[in-house]
């Protein structure tokens, strides 16, 4: 199982994600500098959180022009697993690998705190090891996490079961009060139609060790590892 983490000028959570994959999950992990044009035989590519290019113009916009992104599109089209976390999710939207846009939080301010997210779709390569406990406590930290998509495309997301996470409370209720940033339908994470590209605002790498307050984030990484293992043996 090999992860590639793409590093952009301004990425901040690249080391965090690397540390968790290496020390908690004992996987092989490589950093890929955004100016390179080749991935390193990755099973899963991660676009980490942070402020690539200072979030100037639009978060993730400038990063989406980096040379490596052409290679990433091909990798995704071939069915390779891609996980975009926070700033990474913004990049996936700017590249059109996922539908919709992320706008300024309705509070107009940066929010950093633990939130609960309900797993709506348990049958993706990113969520298939979450058996019964479908409410995860994972932190968010962003200023532009207000997911927007028009009515028509929202229905499409729902029809294709592309909504994976919704902000909820401890008991799993998704209401207006459990929505930290104004996202349409409390959406916290979605996948593409093919199911191999996930964008999520919460940071699983910040909730993979109990010492930091929660280890619910490990389900995401465990699922990726499990589904990759399964794929290897199918081919």
């Amino acid at each position: 199982m090999r992860f590639n983490i793409i590093v952009f000028p301004g990425s901040n959570c690249d080391y965090d994600t690397y540390f968790v994959l290496k020390n908690v999950f004992h996987c092989k992990v490589d950093f890929i500098w955004h100016k390179q044009d080749k991935l390193k035989n990755a099973d899963c590519v991660i676009l980490p959180g942070g402020f690539s290019y200072g979030d100037y113009l639009r978060p993730g916009a400038i990063a989406s022009f980096s040379p490596i992104m052409q290679e990433l599109k091909k990798f995704a089209q071939r069915g390779g697993l891609v996980l975009g976390i926070c700033n990474g999710f913004q990049m996936l939207l700017e590249m059109g690998l996922l539908p919709g846009s992320l706008m300024l939080n309705n509070t107009l301010s940066f929010i950093c705190r633990n939130v609960y997210i309900k797993v709506i779709n348990m049958h993706t390569p990113f969520t298939n090891t979450i058996a019964e406990k479908n409410v995860l406590k994972i932190p968010i930290a962003h200023k532009e996490g207000n997911y927007f998509i028009d009515e028509e495309k929202l229905k499409e997301l729902q029809k294709n079961n592309q909504i994976v996470f919704q902000y909820c409370d401890k008991q799993g209720n998704t209401t207006e009060y459990t929505n930290p940033n104004g996202s349409v339908n409390n959406i916290a994470g979605i996948i593409n139609k093919n199911g191999n590209v996930l964008g999520m605002m919460p940071h699983p790498e910040r909730a993979s060790e109990m010492i930091l307050g929660s280890d619910d984030g490990k389900f995401i990484f465990q699922s990726i590892i499990a589904s990759t293992f399964a794929n290897h043996h199918k081919i």
Binding site: A61, F65, E94, P99, N105, L108, F148, D150
Partner: protein, 83 residues
């Protein structure tokens, strides 16, 4: 040198949280006659243009591919030619 004034606006129907908060602020400060506030971005580009080409197509490309997010934004621009 040519100057491009580019205005990037949110499509109608797209929610503008910043506009909403500014509207509330104006009301609390007593500007009740303000009915709506829409925020948008503005870019001023200086472009070298010795052989006086028509830059419209290039600016269109810049707006469409870089400055605007087609999902939620529309753009308009004008060009000023300085000698």
């Amino acid at each position: 040198m040519c100057k491009a004034n580019i205005h990037i606006k949110l499509k109608s129907g797209v929610h503008d949280p910043q506009g909403k908060v500014i509207l509330n602020t104006l009301h609390t400060l007593g500007f009740d006659n303000v009915k709506s506030v829409r925020t948008s971005k503005y870019f001023e580009l200086e472009i070298e243009n010795e052989n006086n080409m028509d830059l419209t197509e290039q600016i269109d490309k810049i707006c469409d591919e870089v400055l605007a997010n087609p999902n939620i934004e529309i753009y308009e621009f004008n060009l000023e030619n300085h000698s």
